[in-house]
Assembly symmetry: C2
Homo-oligomer: 429 residues x 2
Amino acid sequence: MSERATVTMSATLAADEALARRRSAGEQVISMASGEIGLPVHPALQRMLAGAAQLNAYGPVPGGSALREAAAGYWQRRGLDTDPELVVAGPGSKPLLFGLLLAIGGDPVVPVPGWVSYVAQARLAGSQPIGVPILPGEGGVPDPAALRTAVTRARAAGRDPRCVVVTVPDNPTGTVASGDTLRRLGETARDLDLVIVSDEIYGDLVFDAADPAVSPARYAPERTVTTTGLTKNLALGGWRIGVARFPDGDLGRDLRTALVRVASQIWSSPAAPVQAAAAYALGEPAEITAHVAASRRLHEAVVRTVADRFGAVGALLTPVRATCYLYPDLEPLRAPIGRGYDLHTGDDLVRLLLDRYGIGVLPASAFGEPAIPLRLRLATSQLYGETDEQRWAALAADDPLTLPWIRSTVDRIEEVLADLAGPAHHVHP
Amino acid sequence: MSERATVTMSATLAADEALARRRSAGEQVISMASGEIGLPVHPALQRMLAGAAQLNAYGPVPGGSALREAAAGYWQRRGLDTDPELVVAGPGSKPLLFGLLLAIGGDPVVPVPGWVSYVAQARLAGSQPIGVPILPGEGGVPDPAALRTAVTRARAAGRDPRCVVVTVPDNPTGTVASGDTLRRLGETARDLDLVIVSDEIYGDLVFDAADPAVSPARYAPERTVTTTGLTKNLALGGWRIGVARFPDGDLGRDLRTALVRVASQIWSSPAAPVQAAAAYALGEPAEITAHVAASRRLHEAVVRTVADRFGAVGALLTPVRATCYLYPDLEPLRAPIGRGYDLHTGDDLVRLLLDRYGIGVLPASAFGEPAIPLRLRLATSQLYGETDEQRWAALAADDPLTLPWIRSTVDRIEEVLADLAGPAHHVHP
C-alpha cells in the first residue's frame, strides 16, 4: 500500500456509515457526527435536474459558461467582483480543494482545529501540512501571529509552505473569524507570500444578517482563492457540485490554469445535469433564497437549543454564530462522567455516547486536536426528521422545537447530559 | 506552482474545447480528436435520472448497494464472479484510476502507446511511470517480456514498480490484446508481484461477438483490479460515473479499503441521482443492451470506413477490432504531404490537418509515442450528427454511411487524404 494512501477514512463519512448500519439494524440512534444536511431538495432544483437529463457531453473542464456566470453573479452580490473565466466548477468543493493543494504544491498551513479532510488531502497530495492554532472563539483561521512564526520556522527548516487554508464560517466550531483577524491574516499572507485558500461552504449559514462572514478575499484580493458549493446551503451534498473563484491577476490566472489541468486529468468536468441545476441555484431566484433562509433559521433554532443544553450542564462552548455545529468542551464534567467508566480521551467519551446512549458525535481529535480533552463536535443537521414530510414541516415551523420529532430528540439529549453530569449513569437507550 | 501539477491539460479534452471554439466561431470542423461519444442518452436513463432528483444524501463512499449489486451482475454475466462488497463506484472511471494509483503507490508500468491520462495521473500521484511498448497489433498491454525486463531493471535501480496498467480493448489503437498475451501478462505480473489495473471502459465495444475482449482477471484473478463505466457504451461521459471491481482475497480487500479511504477524502461519493440511473443501466435490461448493440454497430461501420480511406492512400494501420478509434501511421506519405509544407513531427501533421482542412485529430505523441512519426489517433465517435434527430437516425440506420451527414464527412476525409497524398495541396476547407 502507498505511504500517501495511509490516510484514514473521512471521519464524518465513516461515522455516518456506522450510524446508518446501526439504524438499519433497528437501533434508535441520534446522528450528530456528520454535517450532512438532512433537508429535502427544493422542487425547482429537482425540476432543473430532471429537465437536464438529456445532457451527456463533458463540456468544458471548468464547467459550462452558464454555471460559471451564475457563480460569478453569486460572488458579485457578496461584494466580490468575479470574472466567469476565473471560476472553476468541480464535483464538489472537496475535489476542488484537493486539486488546489496539488496545483499550489508545497506544504499547506491548516487551522487547528480544522475540517477532517484538509490534512488527509494534503498527505494525499504528497505534502506535510503545518497545523497552526486558531484564536479563541474564532475558528477556521490560524492565529496570524502564530502563522507568521510557524511559516518562518518552517522555511528556516528548509520546508516550503505556500498556502494557508481557512474556513469562514468554521467547521468544526460554528464560529466566524472577525474582520480584524481576517485583515491580519491577509497582511501576514502578503508578507509571507502565501496563497489563501478560503473554504466558504458555510457562507450562507451565518445567523445574524447584520454581521455576515467576511471573505479574506476582501483583505487580500490578489492572493485569495475561494471555494463554495451547494452542499450546505441547499442540502445537495449527494449531488456533488462546487465552485472555486480565483483572484484576478497573474497569480490567480496561473493557479486557475493549473487547477484546470489537474481537473482534466482527475475528474474531467462536473456532471452535466447537475451543472444545469447548480446554475439555476447560484442565480439565486427568490424561491431559492427563501429556501436557504428557512434552512438557516432552522439550523439556528436547533443548534442553539442543543448548545444551550450542553452549556446548562457545565460544558464550555463559544456561542454558535453559523453552521449547524457545536464544539463543546466537557472537561469540566470529567469527574462525573468518569464515575464507573474508564474515561481518558475524547474518543472514550465518543464511544460511551454511542454505545450506552446511541448518540453519534465526533471527538476533537478528528479535527487535529489532542486526544485527551473531552471535546466533541456535534452536528445538529440531521435532527429535522426522518421523512420529507417532517423535514418540510421543520422548515416551515415558526418554532421547530415544538415539533414532536425534534422536541423528543432534544429532550433525549438533555436526559443523556443530565445522566452524564449526574451522580450515576442510569439512563437506558 | 507545484512540480506535480505541471502536468499538461488532458489532450483529448483540450482538443475538444479548441474545436468547440472554432465551431462556435462559425468554422466547419470535423472533430476526431476526443473519443467523446456523440450519441443521445437513452430515454429510459433520462427517466431514471429524473426520477432520482430527490436523492441528495451522500450515501456510502463506494456507492449504494443497488449500484454495486448491479455492477456485480454486469461482471458476473461476463464470467467474473463479483462480490458487491468488492465494487467501488466513483464519479467516472478516471478518478477511480487516479485513486487506484494513489492507493497502490510506487511507480506504475503503463503501455506505450497508452491513454493520455495514465502518465499525467501517475505524476499527480507523485510517481514516475515506466512506459513499456505494446506488441504489434495488440494495443493497451505492455509486451510481457519487455515488462519483465523493465520491472527487473527498475527494481535493480532502486525503483518500486507495483502495478501495470492495461487497456482492454485499447485506446488509442482500437485493437484488443490476444488471450495468449493476457495469459503471459498474468504470469509475468504474478512472477513480479505486480497488481494489474485493467481499464475495460471499451469492453462492450468489441465488434465481433464471437471474439470478445478477455479481462486479465481471467488469468490473474487474485491480482487484477478492473474498471469500467458508462461513458463509452452508453455515451454518458458527461454524467461522470464509473465502477471498479476488486479481486477476492486479502490483496483485493486491502486495495478496496485503501481506495475507499482515498475516495472519502477526495470525492466523497458518486452523485446520487446518477447512481440510480447507472444501477438501472448496469442491470442491462433488454432496451439497454439493444441500445449498446446499436451503438456498437454504428461505431464499427463508421470507424472501419474511415480506416479504409486511410488504408487506401497508403497509411499503415492494424485492423480496428473495437472502440471508435483508428491509429494510422502516415509515414509512407511523408514525401507527398511534405511538399510545400514544413513537416517534421506528428504534431506538424496535426496542425496541418486543423489549420488547412479544419480536421481535429491527435498526434501519437499525446499517447506517449515519439514525436517524429506521422502517426495519428482519430476518433470517429463524433461523426454521427449534430442533432439528436440525426444521431437517432444514425443508430437506427441499416447502413449509416448512406446518411447524408455521415456520407459527406467521410467524403470530405477522403478528399483531404487524396489531397495530402496527391501531387499538390489544393483542397480548400
